[in-house]
Symmetry: C2
Subunit: 293 residues, 2 copies
């Protein structure tokens, strides 16, 4: 097909470009949020900076056109190129809708208004989708870490942190010997109706300076007691909560113990008698996400 000898050098150049762009997309999206200097790719592909810049422009256009995220470049020293997931409004709504559909299955009903959700919160391919919505909304937060309290919020927190290239700080229910010195608080949990304890290892926040900011992620929120507990615990280390993201928020109680949270879906009601679950995409996601661009 490609038989004309005169074409050969040009075609070879283009083939090399295809290889470089494919590899570049793979490397960038394997470590989202991480800034790679252009020289990294120049060295890797033995290519000139001008070629790499053109490659990046092509990759960025394609990734954006296909709604697969964003490749952005920052000029100057300390600059470079990075990939961030950036679900479109339509994709966010699809993810929210998928979560609603999965949650609506009446076999999830456990009693006491609880739903079985572990299969969703530990679904290795769906968790990054949910996380991408938070990563889009919190991309400008300049947070230093993502915090969650064990256990079911851990995968979501890991995925959000991975997309933003920041560490995860886990709050434990009990202080463990393997955590070293910890700071603990007691708080009232509305879900269980009793006092609970949570603790954070001093070593976990050793890298955070005073005035650092944290994104708090959890799988669900009823009244927000746990989230408020996490915020208080972080305050003890002089870390401020800048964003809160939960997968599922309960409609009741209407007044929460924390404000300015984002949830993917709102659980309106669980009717144990009729075996009916009412859950809908949270509406405040979209107006909020508009400010981010």
């Amino acid at each position: 097909m490609l038989c004309d000898d005169a074409l050969h050098p040009l075609l070879e150049e283009i083939m090399k470009r295809t290889d470089r762009i494919g590899a570049m997309i793979k490397i960038l999206s394997d470590t989202p949020g991480k800034m790679f200097p252009l020289s990294y790719f120049c060295d890797l592909f033995h290519a000139a900076k001008s070629s790499i810049s053109e490659d990046i422009a092509i990759a960025a256009r394609m990734i954006s056109e296909q709604e697969l995220g964003r490749i952005t470049t920052t000029p100057g020293t300390g600059g470079g190129v990075k990939y961030v997931p950036f679900p479109s409004d339509r994709q966010c709504l699809e993810i929210q809708q998928e979560l609603c559909d999965r949650l609506s299955d009446p076999s999830r009903i456990l009693g006491g208004g609880f739903l079985y959700t572990s299969d969703i919160m530990f679904d290795p391919h769906f968790v990054p989708k949910m996380a991408s919505v938070f990563a889009r909304n919190f991309a400008q937060s300049e947070a230093h870490c993502v915090t969650t309290v064990e256990t079911k919020g851990i995968p979501l927190a890991m995925a959000v942190a991975g997309f933003l290239d920041i560490p995860v700080v886990i709050v434990r229910r009990e202080s463990k010997i393997s955590e070293g010195p910890t700071l603990s608080i007691n708080y009232f949990s509305g879900s269980t109706g009793k006092m609970q304890k949570m603790s954070m290892a001093k070593k976990a926040v050793a890298g955070c300076k005073q005035g650092s900011k944290a994104i708090v992620i959890d799988d669900f929120m009823r009244a927000g007691g746990s989230l408020k507990g996490i915020a208080e615990l972080l305050e003890e280390f002089h870390i401020r909560v800048c964003n809160i993201g939960v997968a599922i928020s309960y409609a009741e109680p209407e007044i929460k113990k924390v404000s300015d949270y984002i949830s993917l879906v709102q659980l309106v009601s669980v009717d144990e008698t009729e075996r009916k679950i009412s859950v809908e995409p949270s509406l405040h996601l979209r107006p909020c996400s508009k400010q981010i661009l």
Copy 2:
């Protein structure tokens, strides 16, 4: 540069190919282990099956040449194309060495032979690297799920499961109301020197048939009490452990309660007086991985 009009249609075709290959690599590597029928990409790119097949061949060659994993195709009905991470022997050793280097920091010493490792086990970009070594070794296991006991093994288990496209089943320390009916066992933990409890939700394994197989992943193993406990708990549900992978295994005690495990690194000794940690890459990783090709 590309000024000759006669070249235009051919070049345009090649440019489209670059776009398709870039997008294909992104989509495949976003959901590793998941088989995509060729028709998925034909529809997405409005391209003929022959073009898509050529694209896949180019992408597969490039990904393999750059040591970025593997793109494999399965012919026939139910077949398709999928991406799996496949670190080379050299890359595996680099990951093991990086883990050794990070673990060797004397500020990790907590007393009682314990090391602080939460920053490593919750590092969102390093965890997938460690997981890729297990995914390579366990790719042929045909396991139905990955199991771990909360808390520090969860990110690693999630990443392994993501690479193999199978669900994660979490063993809890305490049975929670949000888990529904659970089955619990007591076991002796060598690390804490006391009896501990672990429980598994019946719903978590509802999708597993009798005779299903599980990969067990954990952050560390001393004598293997927890891992043996997990195996016993799975047995209650007629699920058999086919592989065990731990990030860090302690050299002592030499006799473990489980056999046929793979560890990334071996912790030889922690000298609290001299503040010296001795840790080395586990040697049995390499001969074992040789069998996998």
